[in-house]
């Protein structure tokens, strides 16, 4: 994977996912190493994202590399009207690898085509965020012991959630069974269902999940955002149906874990945090190991 940009989750094969996950496990066992000494990684965040940026920067720092960059387009030359093209061609002189988040969709793909150094996409608008998907896979494998034959519930906004779409694409290579639970307005788009149909994979659609929680190996929660609803009354009626509470987990399997890409607002009640199924903060920690794996494999160190 040396010098291969990571723009979309479909850029990597199943074998490459597994290589990254194995490497992430190595970093989890030994997270502080000096292998990036002398390397500079640029983090260009044209729109703010506290978690993703800090996670990448933590990953680089713990491996002895240095980080340059900006956390907001307002502090970059983009405010002077510089094109993405020029920013990338310039910064690629300063860094060995560029991690970028940009509100324009396809911006990272374009950057990877013009940049002499590899690009890691840390989110391009509503399109792709592949390092999130890899850390989700890592969290699933770590808690379930395998990625094969997982039963996974996706709950909340399945229409706009890019993390959901990418994880569905990735898990489709591991014979997962999918449970899509959402209000009508935020249902899983047809293109993904057609994709699963073509692969002969099973999926079910529900509007609520209290009765079926016992089936799940993984519950993947997402935020139901008010602004996604055309009818505010509809939002008020449905919002509570997609909030997870500890008492709903009474029949959950002992291996079941609750994942959430974070930030959470109210869709996972605070009382879940102390439940043995709560895994979202561990998931965030796994993000650092996964990003250490992504960066060191692209830089050709591992």
């Amino acid at each position: 994977m040396k010098n291969k940009s990571l723009v979309s989750i479909t850029d990597y094969t199943k074998e490459e996912y597994l290589k990254i996950l194995d490497l992430a496990a190595e970093f989890e066992a030994n997270p502080v190493q000096d292998i990036l000494k002398g390397f500079v990684v640029a983090t260009l965040f044209f729109e703010p994202s506290t978690r993703t940026r800090l996670s990448f920067e933590s990953a680089v720092n713990r491996l002895g590399g240095r980080v340059i960059g900006f956390s907001d387009a307002n502090t970059s030359s983009a405010t002077k009207g510089e094109t993405l093209r020029d920013t990338i061609l310039t910064v690629s002189n300063y860094a060995d690898l560029i991690v970028m988040r940009h509100p324009v969709e396809g911006g990272a793909r374009f950057a990877s085509e013009i940049s002499p150094v590899p690009i890691v996409n840390a989110g391009d608008g509503a399109n792709q965020h592949p390092s999130q998907t890899l850390l989700d896979l890592y969290s699933i494998r770590k808690t379930q012991g395998t990625l094969e034959n997982i039963k996974i519930f996706f709950i909340g906004d399945l229409k706009y959630g890019r993390t959901v779409h990418s994880l569905v694409m990735a898990l489709s290579q591991f014979n997962a069974t999918f449970y899509f639970i959402s209000p009508d307005e935020l249902k899983m788009p047809d293109e993904y269902k057609i994709y699963l149909d073509n692969l002969g994979l099973k999926y079910f659609e529900y509007k609520e999940f209290t009765d079926i929680v016992g089936e799940a190996d993984i519950i993947y929660m997402t935020r139901v955002q008010k602004e996604r609803f055309s009818d505010p009354i509809e939002y008020e009626k449905t919002k509570n149906a997609y909030v997870l509470r500890a008492k709903m987990l009474a029949n959950a399997k002992p291996n079941m874990k609750v994942l959430h890409p974070l930030p959470r607002v109210n869709e996972v009640h605070l009382d879940v945090d102390s439940h043995s199924s709560a895994y979202y903060f561990d998931q965030a920690q796994n993000g650092v190991y996964t990003r250490q794996a992504i960066i060191s494999s692209i830089l050709g160190i591992k």
Binding site: S8, T83, L84, V104, G106, G107, R109, E191
Partner: protein, 152 residues
């Protein structure tokens, strides 16, 4: 019918005749093939009667012979188009068009947030459904379908 056509748009000695273009897409075909930027002798007729298309257009271009990968691009708007290659006033070859696997720098991406609509980046699509004309953007990965298709 054939005689009538030749009355409307005069014959050429050598070159290419593109027939069965939907009349309202004539100028798109001209633009896709870049005919508005060449010096050759070109005649066209439009709003001609056609049983198949209702109103059709025909273009005759002297001394131009297209490569398949170029001419196939017009399948985006004129999937029924038929080509006659003319040498010395005679049809020496007939061709039909077929949508290629990739469409580069011709169509607009439907997604306003796509990089190709924000910066000077030529569009690039993978044709995911040739029959329905469904194009997947190489950059933002969104689908542009026939109903939303805009030609440069």
């Amino acid at each position: 019918m054939k005689d009538k056509k030749q009355l409307v748009v005069s014959a050429i000695k050598d070159g290419t005749v593109i027939d069965h273009i939907p009349a309202h897409d004539l100028f798109k075909v001209i633009s896709i093939l870049g005919l508005d930027h060449i010096e050759n002798y070109i005649t066209f007729g439009t709003n001609l009667e056609s049983k198949k298309l209702g109103k059709k257009a025909i273009i005759k271009i002297s001394d131009v012979f297209f490569r398949n990968e170029d001419i196939n691009k017009i399948a985006l708007v004129a999937p029924e188009a038929k080509l006659n290659v003319i040498k010395d006033y005679k049809v020496v070859e007939k061709k039909v068009v077929e949508l290629p696997d990739e469409i580069i720098a011709i169509a607009h991406c439907v997604n306003p947030m796509c990089i190709t609509n924000k910066e000077n980046v030529p569009t690039k699509f993978q044709v995911v459904d040739k029959k329905k004309v469904s194009l997947k953007c190489h950059y933002c990965e969104k689908i542009t379908d026939k109903a939303n298709l805009k030609i440069n």
